[in-house]
């Protein structure tokens, strides 16, 4: 089904992919206390992820990247969501809680940062991977068979013997494979990976990324990869969306964004990363710190840290513009700039 959007400057994504998820005007407000006040964490964002596409969502702590991802699965009960999330023609925000449960795990699944706190230490690996299926009414033997198949697919050695092992018997990298198996056993079409490699050593991180790469290609699985590590983005994703203070400030093909970042924040982020393959006398540092959601500056939220800001940045929130096949929210790219 074709979805028609009233929003300007929708991503012209990657025509390579048919759209799988499309958000328009997605907004997340978190309540503060009991007096009805709330704080806007995610502010009116539009993006689209294609079938089988690998997209990275990059941002610093507090930018709203995790809450954006969690909103796609409606994980936060207290969060007030508005806008639309169209998944395969269905607006997820219109579903009842019960209908939503069917989507979680089978259409969209998620893996989190810390595999140890995510796994139940008192439950065997086999039971944990099969649980998603059991909840959906799959028989015990069948669920176990499918759990084994997924663990095998993800390269867990001697998976058949280890179905009855407990999480503490697994290394960090293997645990992350188990968590991934739990997410994939329901055969989702979109996998949200929230900093899945941040707690891992670099060599293990590489293995997990290769695995994700492999699974995504084999299954035609779309991946939304949330990270603050630009190095990981460059190696894994095809498209990158940069979030700052609750909004997407840049969205484009990885090659293009890294070679010619258009938003001053993206430019700063890329320059600020120390590189293993370069010697620099001094690192470029973006001055200041990201603003807390309750004290966002007027106009463009990045303007107090931006070396190129001008009057308009202080007073007016930049709209998302289409520039050369990419989206960017910055007044510098407005052709009518005065």
């Amino acid at each position: 089904m074709q979805i028609v959007h009233p929003m300007p400057a929708m991503p012209e994504p990657t025509p390579k992919y048919a759209p799988l998820v499309t958000t328009s005007g997605l907004t997340v407000d978190m309540p503060l206390g009991r007096d009805g006040n709330s704080v806007r964490i995610v502010d009116n964002i539009d993006f689209s992820i294609g079938v089988g596409e690998r997209v990275a969502l990059v941002g610093e702590s507090g930018s709203g990247k995790s809450l954006t991802a969690r909103a796609l699965m409606r994980l936060d009960r207290l969060a007030r969501l508005s806008g639309r999330i169209d998944f395969d023609g269905q607006d997820l925000l219109k579903l009842s809680e019960r209908e939503m449960t069917r989507y979680r795990g089978s259409a969209i699944a998620m893996v989190f940062q810390d595999p140890m706190s995510f796994l139940d230490p008192l439950m065997t690996i086999g039971d944990q991977v099969a649980e998603t299926l059991r909840i959906r009414g799959v028989g015990k033997a069948e669920a176990r068979k499918r759990a084994l198949a997924v663990l095998d697919e993800l390269g867990v050695d001697r998976a058949a013997e280890r179905l009855d092992a407990y999480p503490h018997e697994f290394s960090g990298g293997m645990r992350q494979r188990v968590v991934l198996a739990m997410a994939l056993v329901g055969e989702p079409r979109l996998l949200i990976a929230d900093e899945p490699t941040t707690a891992l050593d670099v060599r293990v991180q590489d293995q997990v990324l290769d695995l994700l790469d492999d699974v995504s290609a084999r299954r035609g699985l779309a991946v939304l990869f949330i990270t603050h590590d630009l190095g990981v983005v460059a190696g894994f994703a095809e498209r990158v969306m940069v979030m700052y203070s609750g909004r997407i400030v840049e969205d484009g093909e990885v090659e293009q964004v890294f070679a010619h970042p258009r938003h001053p924040y993206t430019r700063g982020l890329i320059k600020a990363v120390p590189r293993i393959d370069q010697d620099l006398h001094k690192l470029y540092a973006i001055p200041g710190a990201p603003p807390p959601p309750l004290a966002r500056p007027s106009g463009c939220p990045f303007h107090p840290r931006c070396s190129e800001s001008f009057d308009r940045c202080v007073s007016e929130l930049p709209a998302v513009l289409n520039v050369g096949g990419e989206r960017v929210a910055c007044h510098l790219h407005d052709p009518l700039r005065v």
């Binding site: 610093e60 702590s61 960090g172 050593d201 670099v202 060599r203 991180q205 590489d206 990324l209 290769d210 790469d213 603050h228 590590d229 630009l230 190095g231 990981v232 983005v233 460059a234 190696g235 894994f236 990885v254 090659e255 890294f258 700063g268 982020l269 890329i270 600020a272 990363v273 120390p274 590189r275 293993i276 393959d277 010697d279 620099l280 001094k282 690192l283 470029y284 540092a285 973006i286 001055p287 710190a289 990201p290 840290r305």
Partner: protein, 272 residues
């Protein structure tokens, strides 16, 4: 030579199993004004070395000598001098600063403990100078840690360590908890301080790119053993040890072309 660690061994109790040895005859030395990087994955023993060379824990074998002081057996005035001249910055500026102390109290505490400045006014002046030096506004000295951002808190932690003019600063993953855009500020600050104060820095980190930027000399650890040591140029330009090579090859580079080429190479290796 300012500090020398000679063949130290350290084990941790693992009852009911026999103790686990985490350091196997590790030796290293630090000169005046040198920035030394200790790198390795989790479990390599890098943080244990930092603890040993701060005398926070004692190795069972080997010796640690700092400027004529036998660190492991030091007492009294010797130990006090060691504790004053070797300072530490921790990873998490959210956990390492007492939330009930103001920035002034936090930064000035060392002056009080070591009786370096007598009188509240003199201390206050030193704290203000120090805040200025690390890029904080001295007008904020009455504020509490919670009202500072992560990067500013790490500046407080650095000011707190440097105010008593140490000769060695041990930093255990000092930027790992910070946002990317702020990380660079703290790395630059450490580099400035090292040059300005002729400070020796022991930098413990898992992030090899950060280590490459900051440290002239590097020690690579794997399972409690030093597998390679050398200058920045040697380790990054021509690593000899297979483990060092594997570690370097796994560091992500923010360049899509390089990232993709490396992935393709790995895939080719695994299918062969």
């Amino acid at each position: 030579m300012l500090l020398k660690i000679d063949r130290i061994c350290k084990s941790y109790a693992a009852f009911p199993n026999p103790p686990t040895r985490v350091l196997h005859e590790v030796s290293l030395s630090i000169n005046h004004g040198e920035a030394l990087g200790l790198v390795g994955e989790s479990g390599s023993g890098k943080s244990t070395i930092a603890k040993c060379l701060l005398a926070l824990t004692k190795p069972e074998e080997g010796s640690i000598t700092y400027d004529g002081i036998d660190v492991i057996h030091a007492k009294g005035e010797d130990l006090r001098r060691f504790r004053r001249e070797v300072q530490m910055v921790f990873q998490d500026p959210y956990g390492s600063l007492n939330p009930r102390m103001t920035a002034e109290e936090l930064i000035g505490e060392g002056l009080l403990v070591h009786k370096l400045e007598n009188g509240a006014q003199a201390r206050r002046t030193r704290v203000a100078e120090m805040m200025e030096m690390v890029g904080l506004n001295p007008d904020d000295m009455d504020r509490y840690p919670r009202s500072f951002s992560g990067g500013q808190r790490q500046r407080i932690a650095i000011a707190r360590a440097l105010v008593i003019r140490p000769r060695i600063l041990v930093c255990d993953e000092p930027v790992a908890a910070l946002d990317v855009s702020v990380q660079a500020q703290v790395i630059n600050l450490l580099q400035d301080m090292q040059r300005k104060l002729n400070l020796a820095i022991v930098f413990v980190a898992h992030d090899l790119a950060v280590v490459r930027h900051l440290c002239e000399n590097i020690v690579v650890l794997h399972k409690g053993v030093v597998v390679e040591r050398g200058t920045r140029e040697e380790i990054f330009g021509n690593p000899q040890n297979a483990y060092t090579q594997a570690l370097l090859a796994a560091v992500p580079v923010p360049d899509p072309a390089i990232g993709r080429a490396r992935r393709a190479q790995r895939l080719a290796q695994t299918t062969n």
